[in-house]
Symmetry: C2
Amino acid sequence: MAARLKRDAHGLVPAIAQQYDTGEVLMLGWMDDEALHRTLTTGRCTYWSRSRQEYWVKGDTSGHVQHVKSVALDCDADTLLVKVDQVGAACHTGDRTCFDADVLPLAQ
Amino acid sequence: MAARLKRDAHGLVPAIAQQYDTGEVLMLGWMDDEALHRTLTTGRCTYWSRSRQEYWVKGDTSGHVQHVKSVALDCDADTLLVKVDQVGAACHTGDRTCFDADVLPLAQ
């Protein structure tokens, strides 16, 4: 499976985390092969932190754990969709999702 | 707004397209400043095609248009969530979403 994954120049693919029952898009993180392996085998969402350059088990510090329900690869094999059960807030700001605060104006 | 956007080395940010009413995650595309501007001002989702190196108005060839309902920037200003009304299939394979075909096995 790792052989099929099309990674970027940094060995990463974007991973969309979605609440499995409500459909809320919670956040986007990045995974390398090892983060994906850990996500699939531990049942806890694990990302690669680009800013800290380390693996990051979501919720280890905040308690806001993501329990993995399913993982799907897209048709181009370069994006992951991870359905999770999110404990508490997904966003470090305390918002439920990382997309709650900044809606852009449409000009139509 | 463009000043706030944190782009990658290629000037791009990932844009998650989500069906606005059902919550389905349809696909992930990439936008630069101009693609985002066109998306916000035309009401039609416009991406930058990394493979073809050109702007790509979703549905211009296939008819599978994405009508824009809302656009939000995430807390880090490096990811977009675009809620759309998708006409027909989002995926070039004919599947409704790009994540329908390839669910990965969990080992728990």
